[in-house]
Symmetry: C2
Subunit: 200 residues, 2 copies
DNA sequence: AAGAAAAACGGATGATCCATCCGTTTCATT
DNA sequence: AATGAAACGGATGGATCATCCGTTTTTCTT
């Protein structure tokens, strides 16, 4: 039987070989460190730091962007869980607002998230799937808030991702040293935008 | 007499030699084209396109950032003029708002401006000077609006540059094709933020 | 457990990109 | 026209990128 047909259409790829899984994990770990430090990712350098051949890195992650996405997976899953909890919330506006607080905060504390959330297209299929889930949940939150008459007219779903990423961008640009303070700045900017977004 | 002492403290450098001025202009023209196209700037490539030696490019602009700043000069000067006109405006809020509209629009129509306005430090002394002028004029606009009681408490001068650049970032992220439409999106996002900023 | 097939590995290496250095040319000055 | 200073160009050494292929490791089969 052709392996291609076996996995065709599946999101889950065949399980990795033991050594491959180990190396992949090592690479991601190094990637996480580099992303956190704000260093621009160089795949050759990642290989050296992970004590792994260059080709191994390139096989797993053809581009730095792909590695960043792999690093972002945990954060994306956490956001999806938060969105799932939010859709359970009774009050549409509270659900909407709390989730936005969460997503801004996440972008500021996890440097891998911003590039993934603001990238037009994903490099890894796994990321695309997570982004789809997140997008679908967020759409619900947005439409519920809109249906409850809480959103000013003229605001569309397509505006939300840019606005959220713009807020994170602004907060990152603010000359705040300490992460705590930066989170507060992000929260502040979000409040400004939410004020502007809300029906008055 | 030591040339250093002659020019010490002056912003204006000794006039360029004829050939140097010509080459500098050529290089900037090519740079303008590349920036407009959104291409990442490679100094060797710029040299080739400008029919000039690599060293000539590096002598004038040690980094891509420096070339971008040179390209941005016209836009910066236009913004300074707009700010000067705005401080003449009678109504503090109108002056403030109109200038923000202008600066957002400028960032969206001139791709060289964003990196310069959001960069923490300038690569060329000329840019630093222009940014200082702009900053000083904007401070006046901001403080007048604040003194008129039009700004919500909690908003500081240090928030304004991040917020403005964030708005431009958001608009650039929006999936709008046509520049006209993108300008409208930027204007829209600015309205949202201004709503949130204003005392109610 | 042994052997074979498949999967993954590593790092040498050619290709590409970067930026400096220095011999030559052009310009301004007298 | 001569001289010194300023600017020029591009060859080139150094760094980074990413592929290719001979070797090793794992998994599967019998």
């Amino acid at each position: 039987m052709d392996p291609l047909s076996v996995y065709a259409g599946k999101v889950t790829a065949p399980p990795l070989r033991k050594d491959a899984a180990r190396n992949r994990q090592r690479i991601i770990e190094i990637g996480r460190k580099l992303v956190a430090d704000g260093t621009t990712i160089q795949l050759n350098e990642v290989a050296r730091a992970a004590s792994v051949g260059v080709a191994t890195v390139y096989r797993h992650f053809p581009t730095p962007q792909a590695l960043i996405e792999a690093v972002a997976v945990d954060g994306l899953e956490a956001l999806i869980q938060a969105a799932e909890r939010a859709v359970e919330q009774d009050d549409p506006w509270t659900a909407f607002r709390d989730f936005l607080v969460r997503i801004v905060d996440a972008q500021l504390s996890d440097a891998a998230l911003s590039p993934v959330l603001s990238a037009p297209t994903a490099a890894l299929p796994g990321t695309a799937h997570l982004l789809d889930q997140l997008s679908s949940l967020f759409t619900q939150l947005f439409e519920r808030a809109g249906a409850a008459g809480q959103l000013a007219p003229g605001i569309t779903l397509a505006d939300m991702t840019p606005l959220i990423c713009g807020i994170a961008f602004s907060a990152r640009m603010h000359p705040a040293i300490d992460p705590q303070e930066r989170a507060a700045v992000g929260r502040h900017y979000l409040d400004v935008v939410l004020n502007g977004l809300r029906t008055r």
